[in-house]
Symmetry: C2
Subunit: 492 residues, 2 copies
């Protein structure tokens, strides 16, 4: 157990926060609700960005950049969207500071520099982007528009938690415009698939693809698709959303196009996003009481090499070999750290790199040099094996692949074991209270029932799974007929 970090059993919430801090991923800043993403945490985000950006480009999208500020009148144009975000917006009202006449060296807001119209710091960019698309779209020939933006957004959350919920966060937001409803829905679904593939292949995180109930829909969307993942405390975490906007924003911003048939029609839209929240999901899904467990495909460092030595002569001989190994692995495309600090003992180093979640550790001592071997430890299972130097270049890639797969399998097994189908409300409450996890149950489809269940159990409908089987059933709460099960859980 790492120093000062409670076990997951003892205090899951605190375990998470301590892990984020002690592994040097992020910390709270002195700006309310805003975090500092430290270099190690940011390098995970960079890995995520690279993989996602490639997936977006491979599906025909391009990047662009739109303003940080949204004038109030533009912001309020799509009423549902505005209503959904109005209560958590940072508002710019002035554009200048001046010297405080009563307090030398201090500044005050210059009352003469009040903006005629206030600016909202974007909580999401549909408004500013559709206001721009209006100028870009006249004909069906201008469609589709397939744009993504990497940006910061601000939502004035009252209760924040590093990565999971912060006032400012980093994300990507795709905003596309289409000539037909069908094409827009296909895009919405395609991007959900991209997110699911990213979560499973890169984050080693199994996800359920589904649609949100009306209550949980993005403000201004006709339909919200999502991927939901299970954390180790059994709670759900929404890891990405893809929205079918219908013609709502086209209506609000009067974005019309002339169709092939010469008719003037409103444009169809989608938007979709994932954020630095994914880093929180990554940690909470895989890590253990000793620290992070990072999937190799997103780990900033794949392999750490630790020398075990007593004399300087030993250190020098080991270092030669370590550098040789590092060079060979780097040539294969891996990121390798040789921890040659002489200020720390091997045990300290082992614990530190375990805390930081480096997938593979290689230890080399004098006897290894004699035998032509090294000791290789994997972070996920903490098992060790002795491997001949000659085999290392073959073993490491296979080991990393195995770790990636094993982490995924473990998370999938955990989810399977913690997903329970129930048929009565009694059962439902019992499972939530005693076991937690995902609960698969029939629901009558009304927002009222969902709201009541939420009030009584804190569980919400995470999604209506895309692969839900058609089956006759009765709503666990109202007894009304239902055609398919939905997934309930308490959520982050």
């Amino acid at each position: 157990m790492a120093k000062g970090i409670p076990t997951r059993e003892e205090d899951y919430a605190q375990w998470y926060i301590e892990l984020v801090k002690q592994a040097d991923l992020a910390e709270n800043s002195d700006v309310r609700g805003c975090m500092v993403i430290k270099p190690y945490g940011y390098s995970i985000w960079e890995k995520m960005q690279q993989a996602l950006d490639k997936m977006f480009k491979d599906t025909g999208h391009v990047n662009a950049y739109f303003p940080l500020f949204v004038p109030k009148s533009m912001f309020e144009a799509e009423e549902k969207n505005a209503e959904g975000f109005a209560k958590e917006c940072a508002i710019v009202t002035h554009y200048r500071l001046k010297n405080d006449p009563d307090n030398k060296g201090k500044l005050i807001v210059d009352p003469n520099a009040k903006l005629e119209e206030e600016l909202v710091v974007r909580p999401t960019s549909e408004a500013i982007i559709w206001n721009t698309y209006k100028k870009w779209i006249q004909s069906y020939r201008d469609l589709p528009i397939l744009i993504n933006q990497w940006a910061n957004v601000v939502r004035w959350e009252m209760r924040t938690r590093l990565f999971l919920r912060t006032a400012e966060f980093l994300w990507q937001e795709g905003h596309t415009a289409h000539a037909t409803k069908e094409e827009a829905i296909a895009e919405t679904e395609q991007m959900l698939d991209v997110y699911a593939a990213f979560a499973e292949e890169f984050m080693a995180l199994p996800v359920i693809k589904g649609r949100k109930s009306e209550n949980e829909r993005f403000p201004g969307a006709l339909d919200t698709y999502c991927i939901e993942a299970m954390m180790q405390d059994g709670k759900a975490l929404q890891a990405g959303t893809s929205h079918f906007l219908g013609q709502n924003f086209a209506n609000a911003f009067d974005v019309k196009f002339t169709s092939k048939e010469g008719k003037l029609e409103y444009v169809w839209g989608t938007s979709w996003g994932v954020s630095t929240r994914l880093i929180g999901a990554l940690i909470m899904a895989h890590s253990d009481d000793d620290g992070l467990i990072l999937p190799p495909k997103l780990a900033p460092i794949h392999v750490v090499i630790v020398p075990i030595f007593k004399t300087e002569e030993e250190f020098n001989r080991i270092s030669d070999k370590a550098n040789e190994i590092a060079k060979a692995l780097r040539k294969q495309g891996y990121s390798v750290k040789y921890d040659n600090r002489d200020t720390q003992k091997p045990g300290f180093k082992f614990a530190e790199w375990e805390l930081k979640g480096v997938p593979v550790r290689i230890a080399i001592g004098p006897r290894d040099l004699e035998n032509g071997t090294v000791e290789v430890a994997r972070r996920d299972t903490k098992s060790k094996q002795v491997i001949a130097l000659a085999e290392l270049e073959q073993s490491i890639p296979a080991l990393l692949d195995d770790i990636q797969q094993n982490i995924y399998n473990r998370a999938l097994t955990f989810r399977t074991n913690n997903t329970t189908a129930v048929n009565t409300y009694e059962e439902f409450k019992k499972v939530l209270a005693e076991k937690g996890g995902f609960v698969s149950a029939h629901w009558d489809g009304t927002p009222e029932t969902e709201q009541k269940i939420k009030e009584e159990t804190k569980a919400t409908i995470r999604c209506i799974p895309l692969d839900a089987k058609e089956e006759e059933g009765k709503c666990i709460y109202s007894g009304q007929p239902s055609k398919r099960r939905v997934l309930f859980a308490q959520a982050y």
Copy 2:
């Protein structure tokens, strides 16, 4: 001459703006002073980011992310820095909107959601970062810190111009902390060299490395280094700056460390940045009356292929060949666009890709197929040559290298021809009025003289070149003794 774009001769400023718009690089948004960077413009920025990010990492830097907002009390801690930016800051004063009781569907700022302390939208991040470094630095072992941030910043400029000066812009800002003055100065100089290398190797833009006079120094810096480039109208454009901050921010934020000798000392700092302004520089330095001329190393598309055909049968045969060529060139790492639109004539396409600055155009007609050749045109000189298909894979890389070099040489020749050494103020004014460009002259080193020259001629000291020769001279304005020439110019 491209449609609706004045020549450089007719109206250089308007030529620039029209080029930015018509080449689809950027446009003004409906948010005062903020631009929309369109996909084609953004893809140039992505290329710049990739190259710079690699150079930063190769010199030992890592990326991180700090908050967008700076509380007012934190902002004002370093007084000179605060004073320098106070007049152009966007200020967040509230965190919520509410429904307007008098106006259904409209929102107003909720007076009950006034912040206790106003937040400044970062115009630059020294304050928030040094406030954070205070927590990270105790001992010399914590140093150096070598961090870069890719971010948006806001400076409330009254007169804006796409890319060159906008209220919000994208940039990178490096912020480093060191144990010694010497190390901090070495870092400042190293990053200036990185910027100069980037400008010259990637942007094909020759730059003068130098130091700013006191008047032009970054607020809060002890010394500001810069790279200055010449635009085609003879004006100077500051393309990047690297600041030696001394212990100013460490003092302001009380950042001390215990040295190897056990003494408590203030930390030394640097900061350095380049922004989307570089895209403006790129355009203004190289482009011509027909449109952009992009250096191959930053061009989003390296090669465009245009088919010349009359019948569908011809089109199909040409397309087969074009796709084959595209595939081969892509395999070599080039970005290739096959413009197979049947809605536009070749002449239209030629003009469009010239406007967009694609370095190489390949045209293929039926006769080319028979002869096993293509027509290759280069954007920089507009010259054409017939090249055998078999030689294409060798010719194109060489041609692109040649274009990169030629653009650089052309800009260097232009700068050389437009740099004039003068020894009297009469000469100085005459050169500025009649010829423009850089004027190399002696200066007495006082801010007063610089200010007067600026008032009388609009020219400022762009820099004191690092390679300025020591020579005895007399200030052109005051006649006082001077030890080296400095570079004057009117500037963007």
